[in-house]
Amino acid sequence: MTGDIAFLGYGLAAIGPGIGVGLIFAAYINGVARQPEARGMLQTIAFTGMAITEALAILGLVFAFVFQG
């Protein structure tokens, strides 16, 4: 079996942001379920938080391509 260890590294790097994005949307769903009228405000916050968390995964993807053998 041949392959590139950089992409295995990316798979590992994606775990953290995956959990992070999951936590953010869990909190968002909770918030909307408790207070449906706050949806608009929470949506913006949730997507902003997601964008920041996701940046880590995106950096991992870029590094995987940069450091591939």
Partner: protein, 278 residues
């Protein structure tokens, strides 16, 4: 476009391993380099496929909004309704809610252009025969990010009374003295390096990864279907095509979301710049 260019990119694997070929060649970043009219050896001025897609979408956007705004009626037509909805979304949900009702008006044209431009270019990635997400080549998001970067720094310099005021505003007030230099370095890096870097890379990474996934499913399905050894492998090739169709719809969602997030973050950075305090 010569046929060899097309086939070289579309069919990287036609010789199976059992017949002495390389077997399945996984698609990679090199599949996104599509020179159409090569100009010189380095490829710096080459007319590529994403450049043509970008020109097409600019022409489409220009035609669409000029022709719609040319004859506005009280009872909107279907196209006018679409344009108004998009404009209302960017104006109210993104610009007004994030930048604030006092200062958002001068930035609507920029945000609206960013949103429609990214949205149409992303959706072009799954429209048959166009099928190239322009922003999967890093050069295109870098230009958009550069515009946002210059705008939010220029606004901040004007609002916060020059360079000194801007640098002072980076550190939130009410901190103990020893923490201030550490936080200043962190905030400086965030404002000047991390923000533009992630803004450009996020758009590019999402478009690249999504399209790469479609390539894997479609090329892998084609290889399994044409060169699979058993009936089971051929069947899984068909399954792979089915999954590629499913993923295409998922891509549509991601494409919309990325256009939204890019505009949202641009508005957030501008909102940071216009606010009086940190």
């Amino acid at each position: 476009m010569s046929p060899s260019v097309v086939s070289a990119h579309l069919l990287p694997s036609v010789v199976p391993m059992s017949e002495g070929g390389d077997g399945f060649v996984t698609p990679g970043v090199e599949n996104f380099w599509w020179p159409i009219i090569p100009v010189d050896g380095t490829g710096a001025w080459t007319l590529t496929r994403p450049a043509i897609v970008l020109l097409l979408t600019v022409a489409f956007l220009g035609w669409f909004f000029v022709s719609v705004s040319g004859r506005l009626t009280l009872v909107p037509s279907k196209r006018q309704w679409m344009a108004e909805q998009t404009y209302g979304f960017v104006r109210n949900t993104i610009a007004r809610d994030i930048i604030g009702a006092k200062d958002f008006k001068p930035f609507i044209p920029l945000l609206f252009t960013l949103f429609t431009m990214i949205l149409v270019n992303n959706v072009a990635g799954i429209i048959p025969f166009i099928q190239f997400p322009t922003f999967s080549r890093l050069g295109f998001p870098i230009v958009l990010t550069l515009i946002v970067y210059v705008v939010y720094h220029a606004v901040a310099l004007r609002r916060k009374h020059g360079v000194v005021g801007y640098m002072k505003s980076l550190v939130p007030p009410g901190l103990p003295g020893w923490l201030k230099p550490i936080l200043f370095v962190l905030e400086f890096l965030t404002y000047f390096i991390i923000r533009p870097l992630t803004l450009a890379l996020r758009l590019m990474g999402n478009m690249l990864a999504g399209h790469l996934m479609l390539l894997v499913f479609i090329l892998g399905g084609e290889y399994l279907l044409l060169h699979g050894d058993s009936i089971g492998l051929k069947f899984s090739g068909i399954l792979s095509f089915g999954f590629a169709i499913l993923m295409t719809f998922f891509e549509l969602l991601i494409e919309f979301l990325q256009a939204f997030i890019f505009t949202l973050l641009a508005a957030l950075y501008i909102g940071d710049a216009v606010s009086e305090h940190h």
